[in-house]
């Protein structure tokens, strides 16, 4: 089976909202392939975080179905298996760390799952290695930078052995270096550890690094494709409160200006790509 997360005609609305309020998620169907790296973009209130919470059973659909590796999230006896399969990393690292020592924090979830002690040791060491935090195993979380704390939170999720990790604006509170650290970790998790990644973000630069970008607006999917395809719909993106990465924006504007006919049909997703395109023209 190649699909790990699947939403089938999913509808969700929060309780005690106005009767006229629209559904938070309105008839969404979406399949996420095992091993892929998918970014989800949308305005505040677009429904993207709701969708993330539906995918690991924190929220249950009112209509339609969510399948995680074929397991229906409404089947309560499957919930533990679903959460082992799909981990979530949230925005504020301070709310996610519970222990006073880094390695204990990472061990917290597998301990709760009843994993044998020897196995926990192995998992904790491996998880800390993957996020590059092994040398901080005996530090207190409060001594760490934001990016380091967030990497410990990721290690805690990894220790549960998930196949898929959902990042819900996990870089929003970090400084530039912290954001870079997390994006590098995410790429490593995807490419080397072969985890499926779902990245919910407000940073277009981060979404540009994914294999696929899904744009949600008013609870429905507006755009879905490779980043270079999605970012060509600049007018639509701007109309729903989003933007382009600066490198993409610059190349798009130059192409539109008519002064750079060589850029016709070209897109840049990163600063390197933009520099390569411009170099060949300006030389």
């Amino acid at each position: 089976m190649n699909v790990i997360l699947e939403a089938q005609n999913v509808v969700f609305a929060y309780e005690n909202e106005d009767v006229e309020a629209r559904n938070a998620v309105e008839n969404v169907s979406l399949s996420i392939e095992r091993g892929s790296f998918v970014a989800i973009l949308g305005q505040n209130g677009s429904g993207k975080s709701t969708l993330a919470k539906l995918f690991n059973g924190i929220l249950l659909p009112l209509e339609g179905k969510i399948l995680v590796d074929g397991m229906d999230t409404t089947h309560e006896d499957q919930l533990i298996n679903i959460r082992k399969r799909v981990g979530m990393v949230f925005q504020n690292p301070d709310n996610q760390l519970v222990a006073t020592v880094v390695e204990e924090d990472v061990a917290f979830a597998p301990e709760n799952l009843g994993v044998p002690t020897n196995e926990i040791r192995l998992r904790v060491d491996k998880a800390l290695d993957v996020v590059g935090m092994r040398e901080y195993a005996h530090h207190a979380p409060h001594q760490l930078s934001g990016g380091q704390k967030q990497r410990v939170a990721i290690a805690g999720i990894l220790a549960m052995g998930p196949e898929c990790i959902i990042f819900d604006e996990s870089t929003a509170m970090l400084d530039p270096r912290g954001r870079e650290e997390i994006m590098e970790t995410i790429r490593h998790l995807n490419r080397v550890e072969q985890k499926t990644i779902v990245l919910i973000t407000h940073y277009m630069e981060e979404a540009a690094l994914a294999d696929r970008v899904v744009v949600i607006h008013d609870g429905t999917i507006r755009l879905d494709g490779k980043p270079e395809e999605v970012f060509r719909h600049q007018n639509e993106l701007y109309s729903i409160g989003l933007s382009l990465p600066q490198a993409t924006d610059l190349i798009a504007r130059l192409e539109e200006s008519g002064l750079y006919p060589e850029l016709q049909g070209k897109t840049a997703l990163t600063e390197e790509e933009a520099a390569v395109l411009l170099e060949s023209i300006l030389k």
């Binding site: 949308g42 305005q43 505040n44 209130g45 925005q91 930078s145 934001g146 990016g147 604006e169 929003a172 509170m173 970090l174 400084d175 530039p176 270096r177 912290g178 954001r179 870079e180 407000h202 277009m204 630069e205 409160g241 989003l242 933007s243 990465p245 600066q246 490198a247 924006d249 610059l250 504007r253 130059l254 200006s257 002064l259 750079y260 600063e271 390197e272 933009a274 520099a275 411009l278 170099e279 300006l282 030389k283």
Partner: protein
């Protein structure tokens, strides 16, 4: 257009205990009046400590802070007067909303200052207008509003005190691109219309490039750089060393320069880069 001057300011948390932690070390700098000064630095560099000293929430362990010519700690009992003159918007300020209506929430600060009647009403309505809150929202409960609108209410609550200096800690954190531009654009308009002194803390160098006039860079509790946006951003290596990064569009220009092309790298917004590159094309045709 009042300035703020720090003279050899240091601050330590839990001083003279084993847990003593130095958060600022011997910082001397002047924040220019009537401009937006961006305060940047990595997590833990001392930005929040710096900000909280500007309105007397923290008292320097040593050194002095002047609001205009006035030493703000000359009379410690009157420090609350300084807090009215230097307004502070904390991170995620919407978590501090508590009143039944938006109007009452915005009114809280100015009422505490003793404002009343028509003046109070005027302060509330003009603050709401500056942050783009429409009249009909004023009677609603702040808790019925979206997160972005709640953020505006919280900022309006500080603007309504009509402070001479406004300090904002990550006012756009967690907002989508349009939300960011709207809030920061509102702050820019407010600052220009009323010739206020504004200090803006943000991790987004792209936002700093668009909205600040001058920058102060902190690193490991010390002052690293202070100058105009251009003066500071030209120091690419120092910026990187401070755990920060230049706007992506600047990095594009730097990469071109590295490839041996003769391009101006003092370009910090997409608009600027576009203009330089189209001018270049026009002149070479």
């Amino acid at each position: 257009m009042i300035s703020i001057t720090l003279e050899h300011v240091s601050y330590a948390y839990s001083p003279n205990t084993p847990l003593e932690k130095e958060a600022l070390r011997d910082v001397s700098v002047t924040i220019t009046g009537g401009k937006i000064t961006g305060l940047i630095g990595h997590t833990g560099s001392g930005k929040s400590t710096f900000a909280q000293m500007l309105n007397g929430l923290l008292r320097p362990t040593s050194g002095k802070i002047f609001l205009g010519n006035q030493d703000i700690w000359a009379e410690p009992k009157k420090i609350s007067q300084i807090r009215y003159r230097v307004g502070m918007v904390f991170q995620y300020p919407e978590h501090q909303l508590f009143e039944e209506t938006v109007y009452k929430d915005i009114a809280y600060g100015p009422i505490n200052m003793g404002k009343q009647g028509k003046e109070l009403d005027f302060l509330i309505r003009s603050a709401a207008e500056f942050v783009g809150l429409s009249e009909e929202l004023l009677d609603k409960s702040p808790f019925e509003l979206s997160g972005g609108q709640q953020r505006r209410v919280a900022i309006a609550g500080v603007l309504a005190m009509d402070p001479e200096v406004l300090v904002l800690d990550e006012p756009a954190a967690g907002l989508d691109p349009r939300g960011r531009d709207e809030i920061l654009g509102n702050i820019r308009t407010y600052q220009q219309t009323k010739s206020k002194t504004v200090i803006l803390i943000s991790h987004s160098m792209e936002d700093m490039a668009r909205y600040s006039d001058e920058l102060i860079v902190l690193k490991d509790s010390t002052l690293l750089l202070k100058g105009s946006l251009k003066e500071v951003f030209q120091q690419a290596d120092i910026i990187k060393d401070a755990g920060l990064r230049l706007p992506q569009v600047t990095r594009v220009m730097l990469a071109l320069k590295k490839k041996g092309l003769d391009v101006d790298t003092s370009v910090y917004t997409v608009e600027d880069a576009f203009k330089r590159l189209t001018d270049r094309r026009r002149s070479s045709c």
